[in-house]
């Protein structure tokens, strides 16, 4: 509130400094927000491609699994699934995009050959192998999607935070500071006008006093001169 600020020159200078700093911060944050949005757009395109690939891979994998189930039976498919020894693993590293740390996911043991699957050549059929293959491919796309979508989430969080800061500066802090600046300037101008008025009054009074003194002196002089001429 402007009324809470003491209308002094010192405060006015402090507020002017804060306005300058806030305006500079506002410009920088706006640039950061725009940069983040541009980076986000690139990731969004990538995410949309990955998402459509993910959906088609999922459909293929499901179709192949249903085929394996229909031809080999549910028990055989579940048996093959239970026999697996190798499990896919992921390791996460990070990279920095405009100050946002986004993950880079590396995967191991996703793709396996027949001997690594653990159910043996005799224990399964080509359809189960095809289904396993399709699901391994799906897992690879899922890992890629996880990387891209996590990056998107992190970028969105940063964009939201930056946007909130920009809005706080633009719609709260800067208007308050401008209001305080106007208030102090108006008060100081008012004080200046009062001071000029007061000085004018004092000057008028002083001139009046001097004029009266001059008149009195002139009168006294005239009286003295009259007395001398009468003698």
């Amino acid at each position: 509130m402007a009324e809470d600020v003491k209308p002094t020159r010192k405060n006015l200078m402090a507020i002017e400094d804060r306005i300058e700093l806030s305006e500079r911060g506002h410009d920088t944050l706006e640039q950061k927000r725009d940069g983040l949005i541009m980076e986000f757009m690139d990731i969004l395109d990538q995410a949309q491609d990955v998402r459509s690939e993910l959906n088609s891979d999922y459909e293929t994998a499901q179709r192949k699994l249903n085929m394996a189930r229909a031809m080999e039976g549910d028990v055989a498919v579940r048996g093959a699934a239970a026999a697996l020894q190798e499990h896919p693993e992921i390791t996460t590293q990070s990279k920095n995009i405009m100050g946002v740390v986004v993950p880079q996911i590396e995967s191991t043991k996703v793709r396996k050959n027949l001997s690594e699957r653990g159910y043996g050549l005799l224990g399964s059929s080509a359809r189960i192998d095809e289904a396993a293959d399709a699901y391994e491919e799906l897992l690879e796309t899922i890992i890629l999607a996880a990387e891209v979508e996590t990056a998107m989430k992190k970028m969105l969080e940063e964009i939201e935070t930056t946007k909130r800061r920009v809005n706080a500066l633009e719609f709260k802090l800067l208007p308050d500071l401008y209001e305080n600046q106007d208030f102090i300037e108006q008060k100081l101008e008012e004080q200046e006008r009062e001071e000029i008025f007061r000085l004018k009054k004092i000057k008028g009074k002083k001139e009046e006093q001097e004029r009266e003194e001059r008149e009195k002196e002139a009168q006294a002089q005239a009286e003295r001169e009259a007395a001398v001429s009468a003698d």
């Binding site: 969004l44 993910l54 699994l65 996703v110 699957r117 699901y135 899922i142 890992i143 969105l156 969080e157």
Partner: protein, 108 residues
């Protein structure tokens, strides 16, 4: 630290992933999803060895609001939904909120 992939859903949904070697599977039959899916999600979210959660997009509707928000906004582990559009898993709403425009509109 190496992490694993976890799959939550009906046994039909998880079987294929088991075939690809995923061992962290939370099987929740369709008829128990309203009651048990929240607990399954909570268990997986608490597991530090899990880096990616895979769920079927429609299964998110069975979650309570808290569990859904927790899994959708989680970054580690991160959620990947299958069977939904590019804006699935809460991303579309988040984009609308952050950017101010529905960038996923053309995907519908």
């Amino acid at each position: 630290m190496s992490q694993e992939i976890a799959v939550i859903g009906s046994p039909d949904f998880t079987t294929g992933f088991r075939l690809a070697g995923v061992r962290k599977c939370e099987n929740v039959p369709d008829e128990q999803k309203d009651d048990d899916l929240d607990d399954a999600v909570e268990r997986v979210l608490e597991d530090e060895d899990v880096g990616i959660i895979v769920m079927y997009n429609d299964d998110l509707d069975h979650l309570s609001r808290n569990a859904r928000t927790a899994v959708e906004t989680s970054i580690e582990p991160t959620l990947v939904t299958l069977g939904g559009g590019a804006g699935s898993g809460g991303l579309r709403d988040q984009i609308k909120r952050a950017i101010g425009i529905d960038l996923m509109e053309e995907e519908d």
